[in-house]
């Protein structure tokens, strides 16, 4: 069974690599698009010094966690869920439902995106450089924990995509929801959450747990405990990731059950 899904994913991935020139141009565009955020951060912090006590490399580490987990989630979920409203309206989803495979995995594998590889490089390099500049060397235990954190953070990001786009099953459109509850709210993550009002921190911790994407887990590696209700929050990311993803999956199933074809 896994071989089958793997084959779907491989085909989807390779078709995007087919046109070398085009793929190369895409990489340049993406490199420019994503590194501009990092560059602006470096420009600003070089001029103004630490923000709320956080130095340049600590904030870069935050940002790199966000970009990396977003890109991992994007590779698997952006293709399918970004287009979900369109798949529903065009009736293409009906085609997926008739296949004798799990619709979610099918959707993920056939719409897998090859466009995020440049982000892995940028964000990975940023994490490496930041840790190096901060004089932090990770022990094996910490390294495993960082991988778990990235995995958990990616699941949170993926759950964010899914939960904000699945309402398209009922309303056929969901881009407003997606923009506000995913795009706009995750833009808080670029800086340490301590610079915002306590209410925002509460919202991003308990209601929409985006804070666990970078703010809480990163503090473990740079020996900080700011704006943390309890030290245990630094270790929660993998568990939060798994649970919100489970909720998102159930929500997707619910949407699928409520789904009525548009008949187009």
């Amino acid at each position: 069974m896994f071989g089958l899904y793997g084959a779907f994913a491989k085909v989807a991935f390779l078709t995007q690599l087919e046109y070398r020139g085009q793929y190369f141009m895409r990489m340049i565009a993406k490199l420019l698009g994503w590194s501009s955020g990092f560059i602006l951060l470096v420009i600003l912090l070089n001029k103004v010094g630490p923000v709320a006590g956080w130095g340049l490399y600590e904030i870069l580490l935050l940002y790199a966690f966000d970009v990396l987990s977003y890109s991992i989630a994007g590779t698997f979920f952006m293709g399918g869920f970004g287009k979900l409203p369109r798949l529903i309206r065009s009736g293409e989803l009906d085609g997926i439902l008739t296949k004798p495979v799990n619709p979610l995995i099918y959707l993920i594998c056939t719409k897998i995106s090859a466009g995020y590889t440049s982000n892995y490089v940028i964000a990975g390099a940023m994490i490496g450089i930041s840790l190096h500049k901060l004089g932090i060397s990770l022990s094996l235990y910490q390294m495993i924990w960082m991988i778990l954190d990235i995995a958990g953070a990616s699941l949170i990001q993926a759950a964010g995509f899914m939960i904000t786009t699945v309402p398209a099953f009922w309303f056929l459109k969901s881009d407003g929801l997606y923009r506000l509850f995913y795009k706009n709210l995750t833009s808080f993550l670029q800086y340490p959450l301590t610079i915002y009002h306590g209410g925002i921190r509460f919202l991003l911790t308990f209601l929409l747990p985006y804070g666990f994407i970078n703010f809480y887990p990163v503090q473990l590696f740079i020996n900080r405990q700011e704006g943390v209700p309890s030290p245990i929050f630094l270790f929660l990311t993998p568990f939060v990731g798994a649970s919100v993803f489970f909720i998102a999956y159930r929500f997707w199933e619910k949407g699928l059950n409520a789904y009525q074809s548009t008949g187009s």
Partner: protein
């Protein structure tokens, strides 16, 4: 005729009330984030010559400007190239470029008038931001309009590269990336190191965002407003010629391929 187009796009937007509401909330969040960041930076105390009001004004006006700059022209061009519609555009009596420009302007004006102005008014009252004299506002508006033209030409010209790049999302990413870096829309150019700032002065992007906003704020740059307007005009001209050349190039290539 173009006026009718602006009106149509205006009306269309009324249909999406919820979207509008969400978008407004999102825009508020954007400004709130910016303000928190400025506050945190000023609290750190290393910036002395710029005060909080200036930074907030900058961010609010910049948000309005970027609201006016939103454009889907790259994707639309990509669609037209893919479907072959572009062949019809070659023979249409109405120019594709101006059709997009005024269509988008209508849509963007709607957003800025209905939510942008509201957001701006509230922020100006909350933070007691200074409003410039009517004369300055007029110069600002002229400069802003020229800036919009410059940006549209850039978007359109880079959008035409889709003919070689095939995918509109990426032509737009390039424009957006360059704009973000060199225009000062996110971070005022005061914070840039000198060498980068001189680079920004040579590129057209800062004439879309930073320079017009500086005029509004009455910063040093504003004293040379005649010079700014003149450079903006030259950019419009240069980009206009560049776009014509690329368009010609595409037209002949399409003929070679037989459409």
């Amino acid at each position: 005729m173009y006026w009718v187009l602006i009106k149509c796009c205006f009306r269309q937007q009324f249909q999406y009330k919820w979207n509008l509401l969400f978008q407004m909330a999102g825009d508020w969040l954007g400004i709130y984030i910016k303000i928190c960041i400025w506050q945190a930076i000023l609290n750190a105390g290393s910036i002395k010559n710029i005060n909080f009001e200036t930074l907030v004004s900058y961010s609010v006006v910049a948000a309005m400007v970027s609201g006016l700059l939103y454009s889907r022209v790259a994707e639309e061009l990509a669609d037209r190239f893919r479907t072959g519609m572009i062949a019809i555009d070659f023979i249409r009596p109405i120019s594709l470029k101006w059709y997009y420009f005024f269509g988008q302007l209508g849509e963007n004006l709607f957003h800025v008038l209905f939510e942008g102005i509201f957001i701006a008014a509230v922020s100006f009252i909350i933070w007691k931001l200074p409003i410039p004299l009517p004369g300055t506002v007029l110069i600002f508006l002229v400069s802003l309009f020229l800036g919009l033209l410059i940006m549209f030409f850039i978007q359109y010209t880079i959008g035409l590269l889709v003919f070689w790049m095939k995918d509109g999302t990426y032509t737009r990413m390039i424009t957006d990336g360059l704009f973000l870096l060199f225009s000062g829309i996110d971070i005022p150019l005061w914070f840039y190191p000198d060498w980068l700032r001189s680079l920004c002065d040579v590129l057209p992007f800062s004439y879309v965002a930073f320079k017009p906003i500086s005029i509004w704020l009455g910063m040093q740059e504003a004293k040379q407003w005649q010079k700014i307007l003149l450079i903006q005009l030259s950019w419009v001209l240069i980009l206009f010629v560049a776009e014509r050349l690329i368009w010609k190039q595409i037209q002949s290539s399409v003929e070679i391929q037989g459409g």
